[in-house]
Symmetry: C2
Amino acid sequence: MSGKKNPRETTLTEEAYQKLRWDIVSGTLEAGSPLRLENLKQRYGLGYSPLREALNRLHSERLVMSVALRGFTVAPLSLTEMWDAVDTRIHIEAEALRRAIKFGDDDWETEVISAFHGLSLKAKKLEQMDTPPMEEMKALEDRHHRFHRALISACRSNWLLDFSDKLYVETERYRFPVLGGPRARPSRDLTLEHQEIMEATIARDAEKAIALLSRHYQRTGETLSARYQPDAKPMAAGADA
Amino acid sequence: MSGKKNPRETTLTEEAYQKLRWDIVSGTLEAGSPLRLENLKQRYGLGYSPLREALNRLHSERLVMSVALRGFTVAPLSLTEMWDAVDTRIHIEAEALRRAIKFGDDDWETEVISAFHGLSLKAKKLEQMDTPPMEEMKALEDRHHRFHRALISACRSNWLLDFSDKLYVETERYRFPVLGGPRARPSRDLTLEHQEIMEATIARDAEKAIALLSRHYQRTGETLSARYQPDAKPMAAGADA
DNA sequence: AAAATCCAGATTTTCGAAAATATCTATTTA
DNA sequence: TAAATAGATATTTTCGAAAATCTGGATTTT
């Protein structure tokens, strides 16, 4: 049932990319650790070519570092890099949201509402579970991404959308351990925050929607900071790298 | 003298990347045309692996399109894409320049001035030539990039710098045929524009510098539009793709 | 005739061996 | 002893053949 039939459904490069990406974002492959091709070949049962192509793609997304002739490593985590991603994301998506609110049509509104619902349902479901399985975490991530993408999807700029995606990937990595870690989501109602953003957007109140979205990201950054600061271990090299 | 000794100076992937990139940006490889591996293998005398890796890298920079199992093509040109790149660049670099002016130190100022001089000298030299050789064009491009990069180099955001680089590559492609084409640079003194930007920046007048930089990019967009509009042929598929 | 099926030929993708390069250890030299 | 050199090992990079997949045209079926 799981779809691993013989007739391949996609390229092996794509498979390698998805698996590596997940293992990095989820922390299975630790930040900073070297990615030896022989290891990966064993681990995923794939040849050199698809692995290299996947690693190069991940390099362009800044999830892995690469030094010519010296191979690949999982990109390090650092608070300053995290904040850079958060700040830049606010700058990019504020503009994108402004334009989406200006240009968005009925289909866009529908997609925003639909994505919000899909997200909040899944979030409620996961909240009630003690230890959600990986599959569910992944599904939640997908819906979260879909919602934020939907908000700005009508901005009519492929470049803004592209950059937003890049930054989503980056911040996903920092957010993940928080979600999975000590289930402390204190004094914060994410679903409410999403709902308020959604409502201001649909109401075409650009300034309010932008302010709410910015605050949403800002708070996420603060949560991550608080999470990492006390226990500096998981971070690669202090908060400076 | 040219450095093609046996002991390799860099990876073949890098070599493939540089050559392909240049051939695309300069228009030698026409927009939209297919990039068959067998051809490229002949053309550059390289094997499949380095070529594929280079093509994937160019794909992530949007210079080539890629469809799984159907190979690569040179990315099409379109006016709307060009304007998207220009507008996004203004948005990104305005913020980056604001921060650079805020944070920049003495070294930064020095680099900005130095880069400006390098650029204006080379520009003056090229202006006096009838048909500048490719090498000189390439050198001018490098200095032009160096100048614009220097302006924002002190912004303290790797993401803004990264995005700016991406957009530079994209716009370079559209700018190139204009430079090489009918040498009509009517009523426009690029060196003066650069100088004004540089001076406002060094004077730490953020608003003025941003306004000048934005206008600079805006005008470039208009020049390119005017260049392409009358003769719609060179564009890939109208102005909509 | 239109749609569906099947076959070459062309092209991409993948593999693992071979070449190139880096890294580590032992040995020599100053 | 410390620095320099050389050799052995580990790792990445590159190559071209083989496998998988697509494309377009001819043949068959409805």
